[in-house]
């Protein structure tokens, strides 16, 4: 095993690339959810964007046009969702799922003629000598334009929601559509615009996968990225800057596990024992500080956990086994679940910052 082959600067630079599709999609979904709509169809919009962007870029030879096409494709898909949920008052969960299922099928259909082709390459933005700074240059100044665009978009969404009047109206609609309606704001229009923005962002994220990250078209290539984007919105407690943190964290995990796979890293079995010890201790501490009467059963359980961990560590001391690729590939999903659990358990913190009208149907009944 040769972990030293992993260069930290390259790692960081590549995690930014790995994170960008999810960052874009999550940012779009954040705006959608801030307006009080839960669109579970991110995966479907992303894959549609991936195939649209790919098809346009291959046909025209222009990656830029490809991204425009992807944004349009994603937005168009999202409008199906928008019209169904806003005008036909269909269930948002079911409609979002339908969008994902439909998107996966439709994209495969569109992508038929584009298998085995290579998209036109996307160059780096030229920062001149800045790019040659050791480490920093690799991390900050050797990316394609979409990476910088996605970062700019984070700032733009943050400023829009915090300072602009339209942002205020968007948040108001997401907090209480009845009150917003009573004040004369067009709830449905605001939401449709938010949904279209979310669709366009998801489309861009998908196209980033098919045009830059991979770059190739394969069926189902988003592989759950849309769902992870949804999870990151929860992780970020609906705050744009935290979307950035969440997406880059996730990107980091992805890149790290890929590097470990490539390096054929070995896994010390004793680590499992230490994890058990850690879990037992953490749970005991949580019990201690929660202020409630600790239950005997749980303390016994913790003691057993710690004992088992110590015993196990001793038992397999020094044993190394190769990481199985499948288990490394699982890790991003498992860690996403873990993060979701931590975020939602903090005494309803996630629930507190969620837009109050999220997922509720609106029908102007006046």
């Amino acid at each position: 095993m040769d972990l030293s082959a992993i260069n930290p600067a390259v790692l960081i630079a590549s995690l930014m690339v790995a994170a960008t599709p999810i960052l874009l999609a999550a940012l779009g979904e954040l705006v959608v959810e801030k307006s009080g709509v839960l669109n579970l169809g991110v995966e479907g919009m992303m894959i549609t964007g991936a195939v649209c962007g790919y098809a346009v870029a291959v046909s025209t030879g222009s990656p830029a046009l490809g991204f425009v096409g992807a944004a349009l494709g994603g937005a168009l898909m999202s409008m199906v969702f928008g019209i169904l949920t806003q005008y036909f008052m269909s269930n948002q969960v079911a409609t979002g799922l339908a969008l994902t299922l439909f998107g996966l099928g439709l994209s495969a259909l569109i992508g038929q003629g584009y298998l085995q082709l290579r998209p036109p390459p996307v160059g780096e933005v030229n920062f001149g000598p800045l790019a040659d700074i050791p480490a920093l240059g690799t991390i900050f100044f050797q990316h394609d334009a979409m990476v910088y665009l996605s970062l700019a978009l984070v700032g733009a969404v943050w400023a829009f929601l915090k300072f602009s009047r339209w942002g205020l109206i968007l948040r108001a609609v997401g907090e209480s559509h009845d009150a917003a309606h009573a004040l004369g704001y067009k709830v449905i229009h605001v939401r449709l615009m938010a949904i279209a923005f979310g669709g366009a962002c998801a489309g861009l994220g998908g196209a980033y996968l098919s045009l830059i990250r991979v770059p190739q078209w394969t069926e189902g290539m988003t592989a759950g990225a849309g769902w992870i984007a949804l999870a990151i919105v929860v992780f970020a407690s609906w705050k744009p800057v935290w979307i950035l943190v969440g997406a880059y964290l996730f990107g980091g995990i992805t890149v790290l596990q890929l590097n470990l796979q490539a390096a054929g890293a070995m896994f010390p079995l004793a680590a499992i024992g230490w994890i058990l010890v850690g879990l037992g201790l953490i749970d005991a501490l949580v019990q201690h500080f929660s202020g409630k009467n600790p239950s005997i059963l749980r303390i016994v359980f913790d003691i057993c956990l710690v004992a088992l961990g110590i015993f196990g560590t001793w038992w397999v001391h020094g044993t190394l086994v190769p990481f199985k690729i499948e288990y490394l590939s699982m890790s991003p999903y498992l860690i996403t679940i873990l993060v979701l659990v931590i975020m939602s358990s903090g005494r309803g913190r996630a629930a507190l910052s969620a837009p109050a009208a999220l997922g509720k149907p609106f029908h102007a009944s006046s």
Partner: protein, 507 residues
């Protein structure tokens, strides 16, 4: 009064199955406080929504300041100089005061400047308010101030107020009236919607009385008696509930130091509530909206749990028990929200009868449902409480508010509770159904049950309660005999000054 600010002529609006407004006409002069008087469902809300541009009339016309006035959106109405203070639904709990105010303005100044103006206006009119606080943390009275200031910042020519005092203590009502008089003196016309006659007598210069969508009279409230206006408003002889005073019996419900955290982040937690309710008595619990009424009902119904000994029923600890275990012991409840809490809107009345009646009426056996028995139980409720519906297979949401409320209350009463807790039993219910519900509650007490009525309608509580207590920020005042309480004393209790002079009442 030759000058006319707003003139409404022949305004008509029909909804499927009901004509909400039928050729309504009236006029308001600048600087006039004009009352729109009527029962629930008389069409007041629809009328003002048309003036405010939220609803478009089917027929009729309006003029405002001499020009034709056809607002298609609230923006248009606001641009013309109409502002409205809503009864419900126009504030955003997770946004701060300044943001809420900005949302109600056409072209708000930057936040910092707006905050300064909010402070300034709130001081001028005696309505102190901090622009940086979250609305979710404000009391009902403070929230109304946000609404009022939002309107005042736009220098309206006409201010519409929809039932503004229903969420205020008597003291807060006094402050509001001073503000309104100040505005009136500055030449602002006020359209004041209410069904409280005394308020209208003290405040208003003119009144238009609505009944079932039609104008049934106009008057000068200062010259009319409350009784004559009430007769115009109701249009029929009211059956006033009557009951014989009875010696209270054993203690049935006993709350000792009950503290329950609210499940809603913006809710009010109950703090150290003490209470005893005896067999055969009705305890009225007053209080301004949002002072812990919902939480109290949830704590008693078993939807939220408490330490076992904080709640006792006939001497037995029940604080830890869930709703069904409490029902088995005889503690029943009817929450405020009919659709979605007391009843499931899309389910049939039979299913809704099953919702709380399964245990005491033995509508299940071994987990399996006895549909015929459930249908029979629903039928009995419908018959005994005169619920107007084609039959028990109809969905709950197809019933009118009054009929559904009769069904909900009747469902609990027919189960012969040892103790019944109701929240807002006549909210949004027409007068005759309200009278029937109050009578049923009094009959239940007369038969020996202990009854707790939580309500924001003080008139109702004074009419049916034996003893009265008030909720303020989750604390309950010591109950006092209802007879002989003065408005000032009630106001003090509602405002939180509980223990001031118990001695003087004993005397």
């Amino acid at each position: 009064m030759n000058e006319v600010l707003l003139s409404v002529e022949g305004l008509t609006k029909a909804y499927p199955g009901v004509v909400a407004n039928d050729a309504v006409s009236f006029q308001i002069a600048p600087g006039e406080v004009h009352a729109l008087l009527g029962e629930n469902g008389a069409g007041k809300s629809t009328l003002v929504k048309m003036i405010y541009g939220l609803v478009r009339p089917d027929a009729g016309r309006m003029t405002f300041g001499g020009a034709a006035f056809e607002p298609t959106t609230p923006h248009a109405a606001r641009a013309a100089g109409v502002a409205m203070v809503f009864q419900h639904f126009s504030l955003f709990e997770a946004l701060n005061v300044a943001e809420n105010v900005a949302l109600g303005m056409e072209s708000p100044p930057p936040q910092r400047q707006l905050a300064r103006r909010i402070r300034q206006v709130s001081e001028t009119y005696g309505l102190p308010l901090d622009p940086d606080r979250l609305v979710g943390d404000l009391s009902a009275g403070e929230r109304q101030r946000v609404e009022i200031i939002r309107c005042l910042l736009q220098d309206p020519k006409l201010l519409i107020m929809d039932e503004p005092t229903s969420v205020l203590t008597p003291q807060e009502v006094g402050i509001l009236f001073e503000t309104l008089r100040k505005l009136q003196a500055e030449g602002t016309a006020i359209l004041y919607i209410s069904h409280k006659l005394e308020e209208i007598k003290t405040l208003c210069d003119g009144a238009t009385i609505l009944r079932l969508g039609k104008v049934v009279g106009e008057c000068n409230p200062r010259e009319e008696s409350a009784r004559s206006m009430a007769e115009m408003m109701v249009g029929q002889e009211l059956h006033t509930p009557s009951r014989e005073a009875k010696e209270p019996g054993e203690v049935v419900l006993d709350l000792a130091a009950l503290s329950v955290a609210s499940s809603n982040p913006f809710g009010t937690s109950l703090r150290n509530v003490h209470l005893e309710v005896r067999s055969g008595e009705i305890l009225g619990v007053g209080g301004v909206a949002g002072n812990g009424q919902d939480e109290m009902l949830a704590a008693l119904s078993g939807e939220t749990s408490a330490p076992p000994d904080a709640i006792k029923l006939c001497g037995q600890d029940i604080g830890h028990l869930g709703p069904n275990a409490r029902r088995r012991l005889g503690l029943l409840a009817a929450p405020e929200e009919r659709l979605g809490h007391a009843a499931a809107p899309d389910m049939s009345l039979t299913e809704n009868a099953l919702l709380t009646g399964a245990i005491r009426e033995q509508l299940t056996g071994g987990g399996f449902l006895h549909w015929p028995k459930a249908r029979d139980f629903a039928g009995r409720i419908i018959e005994a409480f005169d619920v107007r519906t084609p039959g028990p297979e109809n969905a709950a949401r197809s019933l009118s508010g009054g009929n559904l409320q009769k069904f909900v209350i009747g469902r609990e009463i027919l189960q012969r509770p040892a103790c019944l807790v109701v929240n807002q039993p006549t909210w949004g219910v027409d007068a005759s159904a309200a009278a029937a519900i109050r009578q049923a509650l009094m009959d239940l007490a007369a038969e020996g049950a202990a009854v707790v009525v939580i309500s924001q309608d003080l008139d109702e509580l004074m009419e049916i309660s034996d003893r009265f207590a008030a909720l303020n920020e989750g604390r309950l005042s010591a109950p006092r005999p209802a007879q002989g309480l003065t408005v000032e004393e009630i106001g003090m209790m509602l405002g939180g000054a509980h223990d001031m002079e118990v001695a003087h009442v004993e005397a």
